[in-house]
Symmetry: C2
């Protein structure tokens, strides 16, 4: 058995399915680029049957990331499909432009899912698997099959279904603990049993896909790998429905830190872990708590005392990983008001953003404005600035001006000036319970897109009271767009996120809300399709 564990990242599919994690196509492309840079083996880029937008987002990733100059490390680009011809056709259409495309189809095999969700018996399930895996294989050389809810399925039935899937052409067999129910001992035994009893399994890759409902996703994944699985399905920061999926960074660093026990390697460049974590947290608005393993702000926190004696050996008394190994850098202050265009371009390029021409001009202008207010500009500031400037939805309404008065005397008042899609400028004043409420009420009068604010959060990106504030909001349209869930076969109201950064948190709040509203308006179809494309994407067009 080989010693290489393939990292299958499903941040863009299972991760994006979690409430509020909706990303724009441009953001998805940027995450896919970061995943390629991180060195993942497979990018599950989405569920193309969900909507034409979803299909197009996967296709763009297949074209722009699945064919890039990564050489032997070009990731496989994978699309999810339910076990139906129509879904498989759409997944194939989306991933086909990639150098190494994969179609991933699934069907539930647990009694509870077969009985209550599928309303099919065992024989019908086997027939459908054989038919659909065979159909996918007739289109694509690389086919992955998942028996959904495998963790609660009868192992003997699993051996049978998987054996038939192999005969029908599946090349990777993924074993999901869909509801996060198993313990490491159970899950390891399940994988060992599958490897032992499934006919033809020797020529396939066995994969594991765990959920964290009981806090055991990482341990279960490692137990599965230890038992012989050679692909791990994971997400950055462990995002995903409910308690989320297995966290990429935990599995990779456990294999790395305890390599004497596991004797396995991955293709991950661990120094990119923190950057990928921040990118995904920014785009999804899903916070990473300070006590998150590997990528949390405190994961490597050192107190003053321990550094003072400066002994490397001494550090190891409380540190099992080097912060540098996961991309935590100690130098944070990089640019100031006297830094020029060249320095900005060089630093952005080191951070992975390739800007030139008008885009660089725009970024430099914002950089100078920020440097006027703030003494030192950190990498985090730059990343927030680039995200705020370039990863916004296509603007339907734009913020033209904002003036706010608030305080303990009550009567917080906001005056908002917006430019409408027809070019007309609207000005509106409103009173609210606070400055953000007043601002949002004034915007609502102009934009007229009824919605519910589900979430509002602000954090300062950097230390110090002059920090850039970043605001994340999540809204749900009333009578708005609906989204198809591949597993539950149900549609649910779509939520839209927006973020904005500014040293003035009320301005940042207005920007974030407008970004979310613009997404809602675009999804409603009244204002055309598409979004402004990404920074580095601009080079490819």
């Amino acid at each position: 058995m080989d010693h290489y564990v393939r990292i299958f990242d499903t941040t863009l599919r299972d991760g994006e399915q979690s409430p509020g994690a909706t990303m724009t196509s441009a953001e998805k492309l940027e995450v896919a680029r970061a995943l390629a840079k991180l060195g993942v083996d497979v990018i599950e880029a989405g569920f193309p049957a969900a909507s034409p937008d979803d299909l197009e987002a996967v296709r763009r990733i297949a074209i722009e990331v699945g064919n890039s100059a990564h050489g032997a490390r070009t990731p496989i680009v994978c699309g999810l499909a339910r076990a139906s011809r129509s879904d498989i056709d759409k997944a194939w259409e989306a991933v086909r432009p990639a150098a190494r495309p994969r179609v991933h189809t699934f069907l539930a095999t647990s009694e509870i899912h077969m009985q209550y969700k599928l309303k099919m018996d065992r024989e019908q399930v086997v027939d459908r698997v054989v038919e659909m895996v065979g159909y996918a294989r007739s289109l694509c050389e690389d086919v992955e099959f998942s028996p959904e809810d495998a963790g609660r399925s009868d192992p003997k039935f699993l051996y049978l279904v998987l054996g038939e899937a192999i005969k029908a052409g599946a090349t990777t067999l993924n074993i999901p603990d869909t509801v996060g129910y198993t313990t490491p001992d159970e899950f390891g035994a399940l994988i060992a049993g599958i490897l032992k009893h499934t006919p033809g399994i020797d020529n396939c890759i066995v994969s594991v896909h765990c959920h964290d409902d009981l806090g055991l996703a990482t341990a279960n994944t490692l137990a599965g790998i230890h038992a012989g699985a050679r692909q791990a399905e994971v997400t950055v920061n462990g995002i995903g429905e409910r308690a989320g999926n297995t966290s990429l960074e935990e599995v990779v660093m456990a294999l790395h830190t305890r390599r004497l026990i596991y004797n396995l390697t991955t293709g991950i460049d661990t120094t990119q872990l923190v950057r990928a974590s921040k990118l995904v947290s920014n785009y999804t608005g899903i916070v990473v708590p300070p006590n998150k393993a590997i990528v949390g702000a405190n994961a490597f926190a050192h107190e003053a005392g321990i550094h003072q004696d400066g002994m490397l050996k001494h550090q190891l008394t409380y540190e099992i990983m080097r912060p540098e190994a996961v991309g935590v850098t100690r130098t944070r202050l990089v640019l100031g008001k006297h830094s020029g265009r060249h320095a900005l371009k060089a630093r952005l390029s080191e951070l992975g953003y390739t800007l030139s021409g008008a885009e660089l001009d725009k970024a430099f202008e914002r950089f100078k404005a920020l440097a006027e207010k703030k003494k030192t500009i950190s990498d985090a500031d730059l990343e927030a600035l680039v995200a705020d400037e370039f990863y916004q939805p296509r603007e339907v309404f734009t913020l033209d001006g904002l003036q706010v008065t608030c305080g303990t005397m009550g009567m917080p008042t906001a005056t908002v000036r917006l430019r409408a899609p027809d070019g007309q400028v609207h000005t509106q004043a409103a009173i609210g319970t606070g400055p953000v409420d007043a601002t949002y009420k004034a915007i609502d009068v102009i934009v007229q897109a009824p919605n519910t604010l589900l979430e509002f959060s602000v954090h300062s990106i950097t230390e110090g009271i002059d920090a850039l504030g970043e605001v994340t909001v999540r809204i749900q349209g009333k009578n708005g767009a609906r989204q198809l869930d591949p597993q539950r076969e149900t549609e649910h109201a779509r939520t839209f996120g927006g973020h904005g950064a500014d040293t003035d948190i009320i301005v940042a709040s207005a920007k974030a809300y407008l970004a979310a509203l613009n997404r809602l308006l675009i999804a409603s179809g009244k204002f055309g399709e598409g979004e402004r494309s990404s920074v580095s994407g601009a080079k490819v067009r």
Copy 2:
């Protein structure tokens, strides 16, 4: 072997050691009350040798929670001590007033810790353990001993040290994986080995204490319990240094949900889990991400579709725990502007807050003011209001007025009026990079307490744009108070947190900053000791 697993909560000791998690004595007492209500068996209330304040906080918990009317369920109150007479004396002084006191002492047993930190050889370590465990036992019937960094210690040496500790009088032997290095198989084997080879272990409780550096704390804890440990050391939300400790809620719910596998019980009232989680998150300012197992906002997120068919059986296809089992309630709207004093008192009492007289008047006044602005008041609103009103540090400077202007035209300006400890009122205007910066600069001119702002975050407590905003800040004084770390034997600069709630987030920001500044000033000793006591504490005095 019995089937009962003791839950030893160290939120107030190991959890509070994490950067920024510093709580006031009143907050600690409130957390201790919540832990007692949750049904934990042991509350590790702090490290009394750290400072007289820490000793006093533990003592108050011993008196007010360790003797309360919980009957047979009155928790053991435990204090941590390094292996020295002075530490043990202080721990004993602090926990002595409890009905069931425990002293917990520790000494490192791994080669790396003995060599570089302790600078002691094995023989010296054994001698010290025997002496100090014996000394602790001469004071207290219930003595716990931990061989620090046991996860990286030579098992044979562990058997020897533990055997000697038992002879010297230890009643509980706790095995910490201090640096979060072990895998579940290793840790389970370590516990099994200790149970098999340690002389006299049959009459003791073996305990496990894991850290989450590789994301394996819950799995390691369960592996240790499965191997025979009967006490688990955990924290609410898994807070703690670096990646944190084992999460209480994950261990408890894994044992509960998979009881057919583990065949073990705990004394935890699981319906209190979400409430305890929120309380700790509020007081420490350490966020719980939406994808946190058991207590995250999405852990039980259901999309509309799945509820529409209303079938309980169907829900089980994606749900392995009932939300009600952990205290997630579906009804969130409780009170409105027409609700009276009685309704407020009743609801607060259901939430666990016993207010009367002047305190209830004050709460009712704030409730009415909020109800004027906001149509419906949820439990979360009420809890934020109570926290904001009653769990503040003793006020040194108080906010008398605030007026702010900001927006896209730049020049954000704040005018602040503060009342100083001498009763004098100071008014100051300042310009900043944003409204919060301007406000903080104006406050700084008046208060004159140089500090660094380490963290600033805002979240809306409830859905809707008229929500209460809660701001959390964390500051570090320049040349300020220092705090002793029991394990590293180093002191580090103390950080101070503050939170404030208001429908106006700039007002909430000012309150939060003032709360943190007041804590810093009190700790500097210039403005006397102590804090305003807690709500329900008022009944006991």
